[in-house]
Assembly symmetry: D2
């Protein structure tokens, strides 16, 4: 089980995330493409940092909403969404190549990620865009989605587009019985570091998570999503890394 983190989410003079502290611990960096965060210079610097730590890189495309940090769902047409996906993947892929790096996957951000999980046409537009991009070269970019009990269905869907999936779970989020994530505001949302580490351990050893209702459900997980907003979060990542090693 790998560790992934959203990085490169600074914007001009505004800094976000302790990227240089996090990079040593993670395997996959999902890098902002400029539509919710990440101006060109931030992108170049983040890619350099990933190269230095030999971290796999993914494009982290978003709805076009910088002031809203890509967290507001937007009703885009299918052709708009497809063009946005191509543009963002191309920008990160091309800049990465100019730094001698290779993009390996795509993970939609924020509201686009949530909409992808809930909405089949949006998911298929995303798959189609990646498929179209992959046909352009020797690339085989994968799509990272949320690990849920429906993962094998999602894999069947993705196969039709010849796109391989990566499934990610979350250390710092609670799960409902249907495998969906509880809101961070939910009263039963995990808050203690102990509980988070326990969830990681269970995922690693048994391939399951325990829902807030107490049910045990199996999850296929390729990667665990962590966050590096502050030093406490970085400390948690170090602890998770130790469990997974």
């Amino acid at each position: 089980m790998k560790l992934n983190c959203d990085l490169g989410e600074s914007f001009g003079s505004w800094k976000m995330g302790l990227d240089s502290k996090v990079m040593p611990y993670i395997d996959q960096a999902s890098i902002a493409c400029g539509f919710h965060a990440g101006d060109p210079l931030t992108l170049v610097n983040t890619l350099n940092l990933a190269a230095k730590h030999n971290v796999d890189i993914g494009a982290h495309p978003s709805y076009p909403d910088i002031v809203g940090f890509g967290r507001r769902s937007m009703q885009c047409s299918q052709e708009e969404l497809s063009a946005m996906m191509l543009y963002q993947i191309a920008a990160v892929d091309g800049v990465a190549k100019s730094q001698s790096l290779s993009l390996t996957y795509v993970k939609p951000h924020g509201a686009l990620y949530n909409d992808m999980m809930k909405n089949e046409p949006i998911r298929q537009t995303i798959l189609q865009s990646i498929s179209q991009y992959n046909q352009s070269g020797d690339r085989a970019l994968k799509l990272m989605i949320q690990a849920t009990p429906k993962f094998s269905q999602h894999q069947d869907e993705a196969k039709r587009y010849k796109v391989e999936l990566l499934a990610e779970a979350f250390a710092d989020r609670c799960y409902a019985d249907d495998g969906s994530l509880l809101s961070r505001q939910h009263e039963k949302a995990i808050h203690t570091q102990e509980k988070m580490l326990q969830q990681v351990k269970q995922l690693k050893e048994q391939g399951t998570i325990t829902t807030v209702q107490g049910k045990t459900i199996a999850l296929t997980v390729d990667s665990l999503c962590v966050h590096g907003d502050n030093m406490a979060a970085v400390k948690l990542i170090a602890n998770i890394k130790e469990i997974l090693s």
Copy 2:
């Protein structure tokens, strides 16, 4: 001598340029990258149009100024400018590849083009960015600059970055004795279609232009820049095409 035109300069709901009327006549389309014009969907549609007419494509990067259409000079740092160049070239190149097209050149837009001609550090940052991008693949993107009496000096400079230059002249602009362009507002600026066609004919047959002061100067020209803002402009392009054929 080829014909090039700036295309893909619509933005969302706002349309600019009669791209579909112009494309049949031209050899090279300089396509907006999203920083002064050209949202992702406009970019995809413009690339499709270029593919249909078998037109060479170039990236047309700009300062980041959509509301100002990239016409306002901005004091960017060298590292900002380099990152912007990489980002914009990468975006257009990658989306082009996903449409089975190949980018062949880069032509800076508006204020960035003017600053490149006047300012050596800016020109070198642009050359260095293209050089870095070219090293990432089997690409050999060329840089299109203005044809002036200093072209061979510019070529020497570009060789140090292993970047080939393309020289462009203008049908609809007047020249001063030093080979620079007169402002469109200058009292002696060409206004009649007859004068413009005469300038094209002279460039083709003798490789020279006549300045507003009456001096004849030699210009090495690979491509002639035309504009397709309205039907009169498209008609002019058709007439120029006839001269060049």
Copy 3:
């Protein structure tokens, strides 16, 4: 019954709408505030044009989505929406005052207008924002909404915020039996100028419209929304003006 039109929707170098042709015919100009269209200079110029023709002015606020022209619904929080409304109204009102003009109403644009008609919390946030703005001065900005059979309910709602409503109908749109507008793409959508003028005449003389299903419904209408995208549209406005005079 007055005539209103959305104006000031150019953006930087991109022009939209024949504002100077339309202004002589209309009573109310709904002016873009910079969030879907309308940069500061366009705003100043549009206000000057309105002043010249003695036209009432309204703020035409939008979701923050320039590339999408405010046509994509965005899931904004109530406090985000309230702040956006205040900002946009304030910008247009203050610039108007600096041109010796007075703002008299607010008409949300595009997706925000549609969401306002369908979604009570959004409508109430809009009413609350206008109410808060009105308390700041001697202003009594009205809110322009769509004339529907529910108009008196909407008036009751608005009264709780001490905001007066204006009801607008459309000459160039077809109505369904519930008083909602049919999509422009609907097979029965009006296309002939004759039908549009007939709809205006009926509204003026009988205060009713006939739905596409053939039902006659009464509509309270303060203002008729027209569009000035091209010369044919301007011609239609002139004809409508004649009917209403």
Copy 4:
């Protein structure tokens, strides 16, 4: 001598400045208008904070360059700059009024501030815009500029526009013999807190500053600009406040 600080410079999810820590110490808050920082919700929240602490508020307009934080000079036309000034002042003034606050001054930001100090046409466009805005109501917004030996000349200039000036000095910057600020990167730039407090004390008691070359020059100062980027900076503000009280 009052204390002023640039506030409201967060942007969406990105936070900048310890505004709530700084507000208790200052007399004047120069509030970002949305062109270099400060989305509508940040603006509303910052105004509320200023109201709570009974702090005077100023508009802090900028060139339109969010990703560059208004720090890159842009070659705008006079009419563009005038429209931008009106728009930004109007937005902050109107939102302030909706929070029962009154704008009292305008202080340009970053590159626009520097250009204003160096460039007479830019300074006059700014004065003209404020003058035009003031004529629209009972407002008499002042313009805050840098205190230099040329201040009385600047006052003569401002009088022609009927705009009153406020002169600001800097605690944390070094001065050259001509009264201009040294770059923060200059080898002789003040770095110790002790030196900064000494500069404040001298300004208060003798109305002079000592340049890096050792010359003593008199400065008329209405307000001292402080910065609240981190807790050390806030501590410094507290110490400065003590000197001034």
